[in-house]
């Protein structure tokens, strides 16, 4: 832990103390204020692209992204002012007007809280409409659900995997997560660690097992059990969370707070579980 002096700041009128180097988002959490986030994840470097976590900082001309703004002594932060509510509403509304958020329940919940009305832009509003990319048996890419949060790029790049198989390509509303020349995943640098799938907040990236079950209308998260175990392949000791439905593994994740994995796995731990079922 840092031995620097902690910083004190005000969140919605309440004084909180956080360690030096903490973010405003950390301070909001410390104050018990729930903050919507989308592109933020504990195990990734903040890219502050989605702007749904913005808060009002006294004296600042614009709102500030709480996930990446360092908390400073004496800051006065409002998390529920008119300006904050408006920008959060618009970000959620903008996203809902352009992509399919039906498998992102958190975003839908926040949208309702802030009164987002994505349908008010009418049927003529441009949306992302692309064919689902199914190129292998391990995971699929459904760009109609992609909110361009950069998490998958971060996980594939220097936040976890250092594979750099994907990057953002294009510009503006035409920007997409892409391999070079949109080459198929098997022909790309992808090593199928699945860390991109694990960090995707909207199911734009989906394990094929989940995708197939959803297509068959048999995806039942409420019936699933999650069992924590240790991966049996090598000696590193990655922890696995086996999501089981109807006595079959349907998904493998890893705890974000695990000291070995920080939520990330390799292809074996992530996808190599078929032997459990003897096939």
């Amino acid at each position: 832990m840092s031995d620097e002096t902690p910083v004190r700041l005000s969140i919605d009128g309440n004084e909180v103390e956080v360690p030096a180097g903490a973010s405003v988002l950390d301070a909001c959490n410390a104050a018990g204020v729930e903050t919507p986030t989308l592109c933020y994840a504990e195990n990734l470097t903040p890219v502050n692209a989605c702007r749904v976590c913005v808060v009002e900082q006294e004296g600042a001309r614009t709102l500030v992204p709480s996930c990446s703004r360092q908390a400073e002594d004496g800051m006065v932060i409002e998390t529920d002012s008119d300006r904050v509510r408006h920008s959060r509403k618009m970000v959620l509304e903008f996203l809902g007007s352009g992509v399919d958020l039906s498998q992102a329940p958190d975003l839908e919940r926040w949208g309702a809280r802030y009164g987002a009305r994505p349908d008010r832009y009418g049927s003529g509003a441009e949306r992302i409409e692309e064919d689902i990319r199914i190129q292998d048996d391990l995971y699929i890419r459904d760009y109609d659900k992609c909110v361009l949060c950069y998490k998958c790029v971060e996980a594939c790049g220097d936040d976890a995997q250092h594979t750099f198989a994907i990057a953002v390509a294009g510009r503006g509303f035409g920007a997409r997560i892409s391999t070079e020349f949109d080459t198929t995943l098997p022909d790309s640098a992808c090593v199928y660690c699945g860390n991109c799938v694990a960090v995707c907040p909207t199911n734009a990236l989906q394990f094929k097992t989940e995708f197939d079950l959803r297509q068959a209308d048999r995806w039942k998260p409420e019936e699933q059990t999650v069992t924590r175990t240790v991966c049996s392949y090598c000696g590193v000791g990655c922890n696995l969370e086996l999501h089981v439905q109807d006595e079959t593994i349907v998904k493998v994740t890893s705890p974000h707070d695990h000291e070995v994995t920080s939520g990330h796995l390799c292809i074996k731990g992530r996808f190599g579980w078929q032997y459990v079922h003897g096939n």
Binding site: V168, F173, S178, E180
Partner: protein, 602 residues
């Protein structure tokens, strides 16, 4: 190569040669021998070479007309950049294409913004296309004084602008009282291609004066001068330099010559016609801030400015004004030019840094600011050419003398880019304090009945004929709820239907948004769609309802202003909203127009 996964496509000989020439010119042998790679590969290699990505992509585009999979793979291999990231960079820029053009012609870029739009760019594009010419509809090309502007992207020969071959005529040439423009277009002519001519006209006296004052002395004078940045943000230059100078080295100086604000052509004029002044001032900035390296990022559509700057750098180096131990001072300073490739957003300083570094031109979150975390993460002073050229007189005459010029809040003189319906479009210099009407009069006044002025560029706002008494100072514009921006004064007479103009402004931001943050990426699209809706209603003769649309635009604007990452999103709705507030759109077009806006807004 073991480090990176490179696909099966291979570069042609031509592609390979084009890329290797760029890399070899900067780093020595382009292809890394395996023993070297194994010892020094990986991240270190990437850091060392990545800044050559943009020049390498330029070389490919120029040689074969596109970035092919094989060509991209070769770049990726040579520069040790992951192919997906190189593709992400290639697809970011207007001047690069990643599909085979299917021809081997030059491509003529035709400007479709503002002054060129009302001068008939649509007709010009149609005419060129009918003649079998490969064309590209381009955002503002920075030649607004000579619409319809064109830029020719060469195929296996240099890019060029035909209009640059004509002798340059400055409207105010030879007038007394010019400061920034005093060497341009006057007789006897100061030759922009000759350092002897520049020195004979008093060039490099400022650098000598700077050496006499010392770094701190220079910064003190610049602070005392009250000089503020001329790019639109109006940040005090001396304060910026002092902040950089007090940071640990290495430090950098960057010239932001990615002039892309629609209606702006001042920096192009300076670089083309007084390149040594830009370089001398940059050298002074390097001396004052303790930087030993400077970068000039010139927009890709300015080939002539690039050529003149390159020539000036070569001559200055030859004459001992750049390089090691400049003018026996013990100060070392070198300058490198980088060409942009067509992206308005790269005029945003942190996007510009990313672009030089070989990343997508996406702005970074501030803080941290460039003064501490700039180019390559180092403390960086970034200024545009106009701001820098002001420093020459400040260093010679002192900050106090400079501060006497202009007004208390806006010191010195300012360049204004006049375009559209004025008698003599062009670049004009006035001491701060002149009113909008006075500046228009300098250009021979408005042709026809003035309907509106777009002040400050696409990121600025429209003002009406009742604003002619507004002093064109930072404080004067602010008091009127406007902004000087980059010095754009674009006049529209009453014959212009402004709905297409405003709709094109909205489209400009939609196209130029980098796409990184949600408010701007989607907000600019939704704003454009609202204007397309108004256009569609009007086309079928339906009553143009503005009330609910104004509410929606207002909501979009507030979110973009409050929650976008950078200035592009913050200002993307300003001009559109001002047009609605002034009642400039929504009225019926065509004959019978009495010049008085009417319709839905009232």
């Amino acid at each position: 190569m073991a480090d990176l996964h490179i696909g099966v496509d291979r570069a042609t000989v031509a592609e390979r040669e084009a890329v290797d020439a760029v890399v070899a010119a900067s780093l020595g042998p382009a292809v890394i021998v395996e023993s070297d790679r194994l010892v020094r590969g990986g991240t270190a290699r990437r850091d060392e070479r990545r800044h050559l990505l943009l020049p390498a992509l330029h070389a490919l585009q120029n040689r074969v007309g596109w970035i092919s999979p094989g060509g991209l793979n070769h770049v990726a291999e040579v520069l040790q950049v992951p192919p997906a990231e190189a593709y992400g960079v290639a697809t970011f820029y207007e001047m690069f294409r990643v599909d085979d053009p299917g021809h081997d012609q030059d491509v003529v870029h035709v400007c479709v913004d503002g002054p060129c739009q009302i001068a008939g760019s649509a007709e010009r594009l149609a005419e060129l296309r009918a003649g079998g010419v490969a064309t590209h509809a381009s955002p503002c090309l920075g030649q607004c004084e000579r619409p319809v502007a064109e830029f020719i992207q060469g195929r296996a020969r240099p890019d060029r602008v035909e209009a640059d071959r004509e002798p340059f005529a400055l409207p105010q040439a030879g007038q007394a009282g010019l400061r920034l423009l005093r060497r341009i277009g006057r007789a006897p002519r100061v030759d922009p291609g000759s350092i002897e001519s520049y020195v004979a006209a008093g060039g490099y006296k400022a650098l000598a004066a700077a050496f006499g004052r010392g770094p701190d002395g220079v910064i003190e004078e610049v602070v005392a001068s009250g000089l503020m940045g001329r790019g639109g943000a109006a940040f005090p230059t001396g304060v910026k330099w002092r902040a950089v100078a007090t940071e640990p080295g290495p430090r950098y100086v960057v010239v932001n010559a990615d002039e892309s604000e629609p209606g702006t052509f001042k920096d192009r004029t300076l670089m083309e016609n007084d390149p040594f002044a830009v370089i001398e001032a940059t050298t002074i900035a390097g001396f004052a801030t303790g930087a030993s390296k400077g970068w000039i990022y010139v927009r890709g559509e300015y080939p002539f400015a690039t050529e003149r700057l390159a020539n000036a750098i070569a001559q200055a180096t030859e004459a001992g004004f750049l390089g090691r131990g400049i003018a026996r001072s013990g100060f070392d300073f070198e300058l490198e030019i980088r060409r942009g490739a067509g992206a308005y957003i790269c005029g945003e300083e942190t996007a510009l840094f990313n672009s030089i570094e070989g990343y997508r031109g996406e702005p970074r979150q501030k803080p941290p600011f460039p003064t501490t975390n700039g180019l390559f993460g180092r403390p960086t002073a970034i200024n545009n050419p106009e701001t820098l050229v002001n420093v020459l007189d400040i260093v010679i005459d002192g900050g106090a003398a400079y501060a006497d010029i202009g007004t208390e809040g806006s010191t010195g003189s300012k360049l204004f880019c006049l375009s559209g319906h004025v008698a003599r479009p062009g670049l004009y210099e006035v001491d701060f304090g002149a009113t909008l009407g006075e500046v228009l009069d300098l250009a021979g006044g408005v042709v026809g009945d003035l309907q509106a002025i777009l002040l400050g560029g696409a990121a600025g706002s429209f003002v009406g004929p009742d604003s002619l008494a507004m002093p064109l100072t930072f404080e004067g514009a602010r008091a009127a709820g406007a902004s000087l921006g980059s010095g754009v004064v674009m006049a529209f007479d009453s014959s212009v239907d402004l709905l297409p103009v405003v709709t094109r402004l909205a489209e400009f931001f939609r196209n130029e948004s980098c796409g990184q943050c949600v408010p701007c990426r989607v907000g600019t699209v939704r704003q454009h769609e609202v204007l397309l809706g108004i256009t569609a209603d009007r086309a079928v003769g339906a009553p143009v309802r503005l009330d609910d649309r104004t509410v929606l635009l207002d909501e979009i604007d507030r979110a973009m202003k409050d929650a976008s990452i950078c200035g592009l999103g913050h200002t993307a709705a300003t001009a559109v909203r001002s047009a609605i507030d002034l009642g400039l759109i929504g009225r019926p077009p065509g004959p019978g127009d009495d010049g008085h806006p009417s319709g839905g807004a009232s």
